[in-house]
């Protein structure tokens, strides 16, 4: 009895956290500067929500195991990336106007690049273990942790909206197309969503800029400032996953509709809306979820193209530029961030699996 109440209350609690998260998002939309912390709050509350959910459903051990695994994966990734980067020709201090060799050696010594690779590697690990990611080679004196945190908040918010947008557009479109299976509307919606993936996003983005920013002046295209600045980049970023989700939803919904329990539900005389939400949607979410794990990590870690087009101060741009600058600490920091994001979002997806399909049991 007690256990049941407990489980119920944690469910309520996680629901409450979810609501809090969405409220924070709405707040976030109305102003950009206030909720920098809140964006982390959202993410944190979501994690908390699922942790409490996991506690209530008795999967603490499983969680623990996953976290240990994640740490090992991240450690291996750090090692691989560290070594891979040194394979790349060219160093961080090669410039067009070549530095006198002695001066270059001096600069390299300052950053410990003169030491044997193994020593550098262990130095890095030692520092990374206490969350010190070092200082950037290119942006002199700026700590990598600080740089990432600052730009990540922008990429995160941008990515989060795009993620939301792609679900909010993708799932209804997919449902709609499925409900009008083999009609004009179905073909229309599907062709439209295939067109969404047909062009590279730098073209989509620049068309949006020319039309909505340059010609109509409805939305700003750059000079990152207010919430309005999110609109065009979010749309550009969200189109592709939205189209993909629409197609995925349609095909799984078509599968689900044919299954027996839907027929039973219909026979029971449930309203179409109830069937849709209680049965069809819930049962078609598994493939979408599988896709959304990597999507979430990818989209939150920023997009180079969009950040360049819209002059957004985000980490997608940082990643490409740090590679071209051979700014090793920054590349490593961003890689670690990405893998952490990937691990977290895959974890979230796993928990959501059991939420949508009770047959899937965690840790089994």
């Amino acid at each position: 009895m007690l256990k049941k109440i407990l489980s119920k209350s944690t469910h309520v609690f996680s629901f409450f956290l979810l609501v809090l998260g969405f409220w924070a998002i709405c707040l976030n939309l109305s102003n950009y500067y206030v909720p920098k912390l809140l964006s982390y709050g959202i993410f944190l509350s979501l994690i908390l929500a699922f942790l409490s959910y996991s506690a209530s459903s008795g999967t603490v051990f499983y969680c623990f195991k996953r976290i240990i695994e994640a740490f090992i994966t991240i450690f291996v990734i750090a090692t691989c990336t560290f070594m891979l980067l040194r394979l790349m020709p060219g160093g961080p201090f090669d410039e067009e106007k070549a530095l006198p060799p002695k001066i270059k050696a001096k600069i390299e010594a300052k950053y410990g690049l003169d030491k044997p690779l193994a020593v550098q590697y262990f130095d890095y690990l030692k520092k990374a273990a206490v969350f010190d990611l070092g200082t950037s080679y290119k942006y002199i004196g700026r700590s990598v942790g600080e740089m990432i945190l600052q730009n990540f908040s922008v990429s995160f918010t941008l990515g989060f909206y795009a993620f939301l947008l792609s679900f909010l557009i993708g799932i209804p479109t997919g449902l709609f197309a499925a409900s009008k299976h083999n009609t004009f509307w179905d073909n229309f919606a599907m062709t439209l969503s295939i067109s969404g993936v047909a062009l590279p996003n730098f073209l989509v983005g620049s068309v949006l800029i020319v039309v909505f920013a340059y010609q109509l002046d409805w939305f700003p295209s750059a000079l990152w400032d207010s919430s309005l600045h999110y609109v065009l980049p979010v749309v550009t970023l969200g189109i592709r996953p939205a189209a993909f989700i629409a197609r995925l939803t349609r095909s799984t919904v078509l599968d689900v509709i044919k299954s027996d329990f839907i027929r039973t539900a219909k026979a029971k005389g449930l309203s179409p809306l109830a069937i849709l939400y209680k049965h069809v949607l819930k049962n078609s979410m598994i493939p979408v979820l599988t896709y959304s794990g990597p999507l979430l990590a990818g989209i939150l870690s920023g997009s180079f193209v969009i950040e360049i087009l819209f002059a957004v101060p985000g980490i997608g741009k940082d990643l490409v530029q740090s590679v071209t600058n051979r700014d090793y600490p920054l590349i490593l920091g961003l890689t670690l961030l990405y893998s952490v994001l990937l691990v977290i979002s895959n974890l979230l997806v796993d928990f959501l699996y059991s939420f949508f399909d009770p047959r899937i049991r965690l840790g089994v």
Binding site: P89, E95, A98, G141, P172, S179, A222, P272, I275, L276
Partner: protein, 531 residues
């Protein structure tokens, strides 16, 4: 099943969510600064640092040259570049330019209200040379006695370096005669407040910590987004005519051009070649010469470019005018090594377009239709403008000489690495003047120069150039030596293939008055005003 009505409801929910994002219009752009008093410029990238002893790029120097000032500044009258006093009141040379004496200005204050003292200059130089600082520009002062030794850690005692300060008189002893004052215009020789640097360490360049004495103060630096400068009312020179400057960091030129055309920024300093044909028609388009050269180097150790006649044939076979036409037509054709408007510029030296002579050279080397010339490798770093030029050279060499050119486009750092190890037969390079003196250009090709990637060594050339750079006062003799060096470099031996001098191409809004346009690409904005 799902009815159309339900779909509409869902769509409506989505849309309200989207619209929610658009409700609140932002009130103020430009950080709340009035547009009429604010100059808005584009920066093409985040400045790596504005610590003037550590920066080595143009974005950083744009900022430092507006918030700081050194002993001496350049003064531009037409094409002429001369020196004008700033923190130094006057200067004179002793012992035929081996010793220089500077009188330092009094009554100057830093932006935090502290008085400026001559020792801040010595502090700055000490910091520049100090091995701990690891400054990329520390070699700038290597001509001072013992400076190099101090910088390399061979001497620990800074007082042994040839810098002497007595009251407001600064005496500098050099190893050999040199036009030393022109070096002091460079931002790496600016004074520094050692106490501030020591107090804030790496964070001393942040707007809340930095202490400067130039015409502007740095008031805001939102990394990766914008920098805001405000007029420094305590500036010792003529007060700036502009109240505020906002530098927006916008990497993509196309984005910046859109903003310019929408009137949201006032100045764009560099334009992508793709857009030039269209942008040149605008009345806001400005172009003026700069001191730089765009050239290709030959790898003189690898066949077939190890042969100087083959190199000459290649240079003769390329019509530079065609390249300039493709780039929009503003660039100045260059056959010599020294850009237009600089001492020792010589339009008559070097190899001009002459396909007949090019063919003759190849014939002389024994190449014919039966024995076709070998293929040539040409490399460049992957950038739009370079690609277009490389593709054109490839087409021209094919057409004029029947030589197959293999293009190799490489990512920037890979490119630099291959240049170090084994450059291609032909490789793209450029040079922008650090100071307006031909020695800056001729020094590149010295057999021991770090930037001489051609592997070409010529002792005669070295001798001419070394002799010439010491002759500060004897201009006639200097010119003669440089002409001889020039002849060897671009007419006889031809390890390099100069193509053109690039120009600055700006978009400057009509509300901006007297934007600085000078050959050194210095953008000191205190004289710029707004309509």
């Amino acid at each position: 099943m799902l009815s159309f009505k339900n779909f509409l409801i869902l769509l409506f929910i989505c849309l309200t969510f989207l619209l929610n994002a658009c409700v609140k219009k932002d009130t103020s752009g430009d950080f709340g600064l009035p547009k009429s008093k604010t100059l808005r410029m584009r920066l093409s990238g985040e400045p790596p640092t504005i610590d003037w002893h550590k920066s080595s790029d143009t974005a950083s120097s744009l900022i430092t040259s507006n918030i700081m000032e050194g002993l001496i500044v350049f003064n531009y009258t037409g094409d002429e570049v001369s020196l004008a006093p700033a923190l130094a009141e006057s200067w004179e040379s002793l012992e035929s330019a081996k010793k220089w004496v500077f009188k330092i200005k009094k009554g100057v204050t830093w932006s935090d209200g502290e008085p400026f003292e001559p020792k801040h200059i010595v502090d700055g130089w000490e910091r520049l040379l100090n091995p701990e600082t690891a400054s990329p520009y520390s070699y700038f002062l290597y001509s001072i006695k013992n400076a190099k030794e101090y910088s390399e850690g061979k001497i620990k005692d800074f007082s042994k370096v040839g810098i002497e300060l007595q009251g407001h008189t600064l005496t500098v002893s050099l190893k050999q005669p040199q036009d030393f004052p022109s070096l002091l215009t460079h931002s790496s020789t600016f004074p520094v407040r050692k106490d501030v640097v020591e107090k804030y360490k790496d964070k001393w360049t942040e707007p809340e910590n930095i202490v400067t004495l130039g015409p502007f103060k740095l008031t805001k630096w939102i990394h990766d987004q914008a920098m805001v400068l405000k007029k420094n009312t305590g500036y010792f020179g003529i007060q700036s005519r502009t109240e505020n400057i906002v530098f927006y960091i916008i990497q993509e030129a196309q984005t910046a051009i859109n903003l310019f055309e929408m009137g949201k920024i006032d100045v764009i300093r560099d334009l992508p070649p793709k857009d030039l044909p269209a942008l040149r028609k605008l009345k806001e388009f400005y172009t003026y010469p700069n001191l730089n050269i765009y050239y290709y180097g030959f790898n003189t150790e690898v066949a077939p470019t190890d042969n100087k006649f083959f190199r000459r044939a290649l240079v003769h076979a390329v019509d530079r005018q065609q390249i300039i036409k493709i780039l929009g037509g503003d660039q100045k054709l260059l056959t010599g090594w020294i850009p237009h408007g600089m001492f020792a510029y010589n339009p008559n030296v070097g190899l001009a377009y002459d396909p007949v002579r090019a063919k003759a050279y190849l014939k002389k080397l024994g190449y014919s239709s039966k024995n076709p010339p070998p293929k040539v490798e040409l490399s460049f770093n992957a950038l739009e403008a370079h690609k277009v030029i490389a593709e054109n050279i490839q087409a021209q060499l094919k057409e004029n000489l029947g030589i197959t050119v293999e293009l190799k486009s490489e990512e920037w750092k890979v490119y630099l690495e291959t240049l170090k190890v084994r450059p291609a037969n032909l490789y793209r390079m450029g040079w922008v003047a650090d100071y307006p003196d031909p020695s800056n250009f001729f020094d590149i090709m010295l057999s021991y120069g770090e930037n001489n990637r051609t592997k070409w060594k010529n002792l005669e050339y070295d001798r001419f150039v070394e002799q010439a750079s010491g002759l500060v006062s004897n201009k006639g003799k200097r010119l003669e030596l440089y002409n001889k060096a020039h002849q060897i470099l671009v007419s006889d031996e031809v390890p390099v293939f100069p193509i053109f001098t690039n120009v600055a191409q700006h978009l400057i809004s009509s509300r901006v008055i007297s934007f600085p346009t000078n050959v050194m690409r210095e953008f000191r904005l205190k004289n710029t005003s707004l309509q």
